[in-house]
């Protein structure tokens, strides 16, 4: 792990971005299905967050704009237990039509992470996952010890 000062000084990692085609409908999905926070400005831009100091800026785009976020570009939502991953997957399957969820991938286990991915009504990809321990502290601590 690098201990050198980065070339860009004083920076903060602040946000990611995603698209919305119907801001009111998108906001309902974010708040009522995914369970994350959103405030919406009148031109459709939403600011989305959950539990940390980082945000997603959700930009209103025209209905003719195709999905621009590929499956490899996802946002991850940490849930408290592995059972909650399975329950979320079951709910996504059961409520797929209601929320216009486009794709739902199967639950998979990779190492100690249990997760599934879904593509929402706007084409954005979400990962619902559980990993034991506090975030990725173990990975960063191991790397620091080796440095």
């Amino acid at each position: 792990m690098s201990v050198q000062q980065p070339l860009i000084d004083g920076s903060v990692f602040s946000h990611g971005t995603m698209d919305s085609r119907n801001p009111e409908k998108t906001q309902r999905f974010l708040q009522e299905f995914l369970g994350i926070r959103s405030v919406r400005k009148s031109k459709g831009t939403q600011y989305v967050w959950q539990g940390g100091r980082w945000i997603i800026a959700c930009l209103a785009v025209g209905s003719n704009v195709p999905p621009r976020q590929g499956e490899g570009f996802r946002f991850g939502l940490l849930v408290a237990t592995p059972e909650e991953v399975d329950a979320a997957h079951d709910a996504a399957v059961a409520q797929r039509a209601q929320w216009e969820i486009q794709e739902i991938r199967p639950v998979r286990v990779e190492g100690d992470t249990r997760a599934f991915w879904l593509q929402d009504l706007d084409g954005n990809w979400w990962e619902i996952y559980h990993r034991p321990g506090h975030l990725y502290d173990d990975l960063f601590a191991r790397e620091a010890a080796l440095a």
Binding site: S2, P6, L7, I8, D9, S11, V12, F13, S14, H15, G16, T17, M18, D19, Q27, Q31, E32, F33, L34, G35, I36, R37, V39, R40, K41, S42, K43, T45, Y47, W49, Q50, G51, G52, R53, W54, I56, A57, L59, R68, Q69, G70, E71, G72, F73, R74, F75, G76, L78, V79, A80, A88, Q95, E127, I128, L135, Y136, L139, F140, R142, E143
Partner: protein, 174 residues
């Protein structure tokens, strides 16, 4: 410290009940066709701590994150080809404290385009709704877009979030 650190403790923008109850919006992912240059860019320039648990995976957390707190992890995964290249409006954002920092970052990236595998570095300009921000965008070799913008005061976002959803008429009169 006032500002976005207080955000998790507020009850703004929340549904009374939801199907999923996530603890944290905690990570983002992207694909890279050159994981070595991605690491170099993120570590040497953008200020991320990087770890590589496997040759094709890179986990990053920013050095500005507070020790012991929550943090957002970016995960880059090496692929032979990026299936869906990002659009400029789908980007990762970095804030710096002043306009001078934005200009200096742009100059630095332009001078090191090949070293860090940058395809395009745009000029800084007034951006976003109402031209309220000063920033620029750049695209790396994996077609991942990044924004570097001036944001000296996080409190402006607290006010925005605390206001809740904006009524159309109210905003029209501002």
């Amino acid at each position: 410290m006032p500002g976005l650190d207080q955000l998790p403790s507020k009850d703004w923008g929340k549904s009374a009940a939801s199907v999923i109850k996530p603890v944290l919006l905690s990570r983002g992912t992207f694909e890279t066709i050159d994981i070595v240059r991605t690491r170099r860019l993120c570590e040497e320039v953008l200020g991320f701590h990087c770890v590589a648990p496997a040759p094709d995976r890179l986990f990053m957390r920013h050095r500005s994150d507070r020790p012991g707190g929550t943090y957002w992890v970016l995960e880059a995964r090496a692929v032979p080809e990026v299936r869906t290249p990002q659009h400029m409006t789908n980007h990762w954002g970095i804030w710096v404290p002043s306009r001078a920092h934005v200009d200096a970052a742009c100059e630095l990236l332009n001078a090191n385009k090949e070293k860090y595998g940058l395809v395009r570095v745009q000029h800084p300009r007034q951006t976003h709704e109402g031209a309220r921000d000063y920033s620029f965008y750049f695209e790396d070799v994996s077609r991942v877009w990044w924004e570097i913008g001036e944001h000296p005061n996080e409190d402006e976002f607290m006010e925005l979030f605390g206001h809740g959803d904006w009524d159309r008429r109210e905003e029209a009169t501002r």
